[in-house]
């Protein structure tokens, strides 16, 4: 099997990291397998569901399609970089309190996408929310409570 290691440095959740990993690995694999950050999920592996969404330089991207070499020098933010159990980020809290979570597998991806939206546009309308979240698939909720959660989070974040 073809494989060659590569050293990559980037900023992860605010701290610099350097990894030496097979060059054909994706950011998702590196996060989950090497760095033990398993909050970012793999739903399809091909950019079709958004469960693996992380922020790269502030923009939501699918980490399952991002080769690790492409991350060199970038700022990466994952769900672990927002709040934690004791102090959830207002967006996380809004998801919890609005019933926007069911099975929870898509949730980290949705929260990261919503975070990127609210950083850019703290006052989105419904259409903009739908637009921003259109790359994240949820099979459980029917999306309404997710949309409401983002609306409420926007109020909080302001």
């Amino acid at each position: 099997m073809l494989s060659e290691k590569v050293k990559v440095s980037f900023i992860l959740n605010g701290s610099p990291v350097e990894v030496e990993v097979p060059s054909h690995h994706t950011l998702l694999e590196v996060l989950r397998e090497r760095l033990n950050l398993t909050g970012t999920k793999e739903g399809c592996g091909k950019g079709e569901c958004g469960a693996c969404t992380v922020l790269m330089n502030g923009e939501p991207v699918c980490s399952c399609m991002l080769m690790i070499t492409q991350v060199e020098g970038a700022e990466i933010l994952t769900i672990e970089g927002l709040g934690d159990l004791e102090n959830p980020h207002p967006i996380q809290r809004a998801f919890m309190e609005n019933g926007a979570i069911q099975c929870g597998f898509c949730t980290p991806g949705f929260i990261m996408t919503a975070y990127a939206l609210l950083m850019k546009n703290p006052n989105p309308d419904r259409k903009q929310i739908k637009e921003a979240l259109s790359g994240n698939i949820c099979r459980c909720t029917g999306y309404m409570k997710i949309e409401e959660a983002v609306m409420n989070a926007a109020r909080e974040v302001k």
Partner: protein
């Protein structure tokens, strides 16, 4: 005996409390199966049949075994126990033996140091096949020249209902209509694919973690495949990323493969399916053909219903007989009809074995009977709402199986019809949409149906559940149940019920992931049954714990236990309303006097029965009653259908947590909308699945989903915890016909095959008779 407590003022039940697992899920801390790691853990990959039907002449695994980093390569020959997955019958092997009967059937498996190494090694296994002719599709499998797959002439099972005399009923009718309806596969598309992690223990035992709905099914499968007694096998559910029926029986296949590899390698083995693999070989909703003939009086009353219902079961029986049974007993809908004749058959094909999916054989027949009700209304010049009201079952009426509907079951059908139509503005909108022109037209349509809660007569023997409650001396409470959380909110609802029953603060309660070593076999987490069965088992356990608490309080306060009640985190004297002790003080008093503050609860559902000869019986202990209204806009030139609004009224007895209830309704509706308008699995001519990704098997995005207005109707079920029935499945089930009926209202054209994708709708609009 469980007392009826519907009228008691409650402090936790009925509240919109935040899900107990919300924080771990929102922060990414929840441990799903692929998030777990064990020292020395290997990764699995599975070789699957490239043919729909083939003889397996030889398997050479030597080259794969020689790959450095590979620790085990297994075929059916490496199964230490029984190579048979027992569901209803024993026909499905964990690893194919002499014959592969469907595309994607497991042939061999590899465990290696990394997942990619395992995937690589799988390509080194050499299998010689001899391709055989395949039975592809329901109708093909019934042709005389079709190759034999299974059952009796490719029919795994038949069911029938004979009620009254349909010939007489048709004679007495003023109008008879007959149509054929076709429904597609549906993929669950849970966001988390199937997966399991098998960890060998030190004494030959095996623990399996996994994403699953039915830990006890997995327990039986792993025990069978390894030839181990059940007390040497332990199944622990991981956080489960959606199920919807798709993690009912198939997790047993996944766990068995992981367990056989782990057994051979002597190391933990994790097997996570890729999305492609999951789509190809995990279970689906059965494609179906339903032919229905209905007779009615001019005034709308039904006089006879005759139906033929066939499902494409796939290559093995798995759950198909029970799915077929459930469909059979729901064919006549929530309507009063003296003469009913149903014949149903599950057909064997060389295709993926179909299994459970929210509704379990019922959405197919609902699509048929609800399309027919609109057809009748149209032919009789009636309002579709009226014809449903005229025929709706009432207390005292009999269903098609002769079961009499009682008040005690909780009967809110008419209220669902009325509230859904009022809330949606049915009358005004029908009028407004009656004469439209132009490129886009709007329409409104409805569906009404009933759904048996729980396993029913088909699964009577499994209709029981256990629960365990342990109260610690700091007054914290630990719950264990035998049914599973898969996103629906069971852990939260059951925590609410336990806290309510114990009279302790909800914050004191935590609930573990389901573990087969903690609770006796509680049957599957299916059929919208968990709230009722596990809720009642918890109440049983809570009552035993309260007995201990009350005895301790009684000793200290000199008040007899009979007058005590628990609520709001304390124990009260019911007679004078005075608080005797807080829950914490009572626990303190009880542990001080060596009371046993742990208890097992047990609940047995009321008996149900079904007579195979005529299809009569009291088949379910209660029913959920539903009316759904869809509003659509149809682009007359492209055939594109936009669902603009859904209004869904569910009589679920009692909402333990309205937020979770709404979540079930809205989420189920989106799956129903996908089923009705876009979801489709396609095969090539050789029986190989083509739609093997989420970009070819399309499910609704946030842009496709309309607002859904949930309406909760509460006609309490006497035996349900606080009156609750079940809601897990119904939200999906009538959306498809509500949407197609709305398309008809917009365009005048009936749609008798789903999904109502633009190509199909446009053909109908152009007058092409599709069926």
């Amino acid at each position: 005996m469980i007392e009826r407590q519907v009228s008691v003022v409650m402090s936790i039940v009925g509240e919109r409390v935040v899900r107990v697992d919300a924080a771990e899920k929102a922060t990414g801390r929840a441990k799903f199966i692929d998030d777990m790691k064990f020292p020395g853990m290997l990764h699995a990959s599975v070789l699957r049949s490239p043919y729909a039907h083939a003889k397996i002449l030889s398997i050479d695994k030597s080259e794969a075994e020689a790959v450095p980093g590979v620790y085990a390569v297994c075929t059916h020959e490496d199964v230490p126990g029984k190579n048979r997955h027992h569901v209803v019958t024993d026909d499905q092997p964990f690893f194919a033996e002499d014959v592969a009967r469907h595309y994607g059937e497991a042939i061999a498996a590899v465990a290696a140091e990394t997942r990619e190494l395992a995937e690589y090694a799988v390509t080194k296994i050499k299998v010689e096949y001899e391709e055989l002719p395949a039975a592809l599709g329901l109708e093909n499998a019934l042709l005389d020249e079709a190759p034999y797959v299974g059952g009796e002439e490719n029919i795994f099972r038949r069911y029938k209902i004979r009620k009254g005399d349909v010939d007489k009923g048709f004679d007495e009718s003023d109008i008879v209509i007959e149509h054929k309806f076709v429904t597609p596969y549906q993929e669950h598309a849970y966001l988390e694919t199937n997966g399991a992690l098998a960890v060998p223990g030190s004494v030959g035992d095996m623990t399996v973690y996994g994403t699953m709905q039915c830990p006890f099914y997995v327990l039986h499968a792993v025990s069978d495949v390894l030839g181990l007694p059940q007390n040497m096998v332990r199944i622990i559910q991981a956080a489960t990323g959606g199920g919807f029926g798709g993690k009912e029986d198939v997790p047993s296949l996944v766990a068995a493969i992981a367990a056989v590899l782990a057994c051979k390698a002597g190391r933990p083995v994790k097997y996570i399916l890729s999305r492609e693999e999951d789509l190809i070989c995990m279970s689906k909703r059965h494609p179906a053909i339903v032919r229905i003939k209905m007779g009615a009086k001019k005034t709308g009353e039904l006089t006879a219903i005759e139906a033929d219902y066939k499902v494409n079961a796939g290559a093995y029986v798995t759950l198909s007989t029970i799915v077929l049974w459930r469909g059979t007993v729901h064919v006549a809908g929530p309507y009063r009809c003296p003469n009913v004749k149903v014949d149903a058959a599950a057909v064997a094909t060389n295709m993926v074995p179909c299994g459970a999916y929210r509704g379990f054989g019922t959405p197919q027949v609902i699509f048929a009977h609800e399309s027919m009700m609109d057809e009748l209304a149209f032919r009789l010049g009636m309002d579709p709402l009226e014809i449903r009201k005229i025929n709706a079952l009432c207390v005292g009426d009999e269903t098609s199986t002769g079961q009499v509907i009682t008040e005690e079951m909780g009967m809110g059908l008419m209220e669902t019809i009325e509230r859904a139509s009022e809330e949606s503005g049915w009358a005004e909108k029908r009028k407004k949409y009656s004469n439209q022109e132009g490129e886009t037209r709007k329409g409104i349509g409805m569906s009404t149906f009933l759904y048996g809660v729980g396993l029913g007569a088909g699964g009577n023997y499994m209709a029981r559940a256990g629960a365990h409650i342990q109260v610690y001396d700091d007054a914290s409470v630990l719950l264990a149940v035998g049914t599973a959380e898969m996103g629906q909110g069971m852990k939260t609802v059951l925590s609410q019920i336990a806290a309510e029953e114990l009279g302790c603060p909800l914050e004191n309660v935590s609930i573990i992931m389901t573990d087969t070593s903690h609770v006796p076999d509680s049957g599957p987490t299916v059929a919208s049954r968990s709230t009722v069965v596990s809720g009642n088992a918890l109440r049983d356990a809570a009552m035993k714990i309260k007995a201990g608490l009350y005895a301790a309080v009684s000793k200290k306060k000199g008040v007899p236990p009979e007058v005590m009640e628990s609520r709001d985190g304390a124990i009260y004297n019911r007679e004078n309303g005075k608080m005797l002790m807080t829950f914490g003080e009572a626990v303190n008093a009880a542990t001080g006097t060596r009371k046993h503050l742990a208890a097992q609860g047990w609940y047995i559902s009321p008996n149900t029965d079904f007579n195979e000869e005529d299809g009569h019986g009291n088949i379910y202990f209660t029913y959920t009653w539903v009316t759904q209204v869809a509003e659509v806009e149809v682009d007359m030139r492209t055939g594109q259908v936009t669902v603009e609004h859904l209004t869904c009224a569910h009589d679920i007895g009692r909402a333990i947590n309205p937020t979770l209830m709404e979540g079930q309704i809205q989420g189920g509706s989106s799956q129903g909308m996908g089923y009705g308008t876009m979801e489709e699995i396609l095969y090539d001519k050789k029986g190989r699945m083509l739609t093997t990704s989420l970009s070819t098997y399309m499910i609704p995005t946030i842009q496709d989903m309309p607002d859904v207005t949930p309406i909760i109707v509460e006609h309490p079920y006497k035996e349900g915890p606080y009156g609750a029935k079940g809601v897990g499945e119904t939200p999906l089930m009538g959306i498809a016909p509500a949407v197609t009926n709305a398309i008809r209202s917009a365009t005048g054209v009936p749609i008798r095959e789903i999904p109502a994708k633009p190509e199909r709708v446009l053909k109908s609009l152009e007058g092409e008779e599709i069926l």
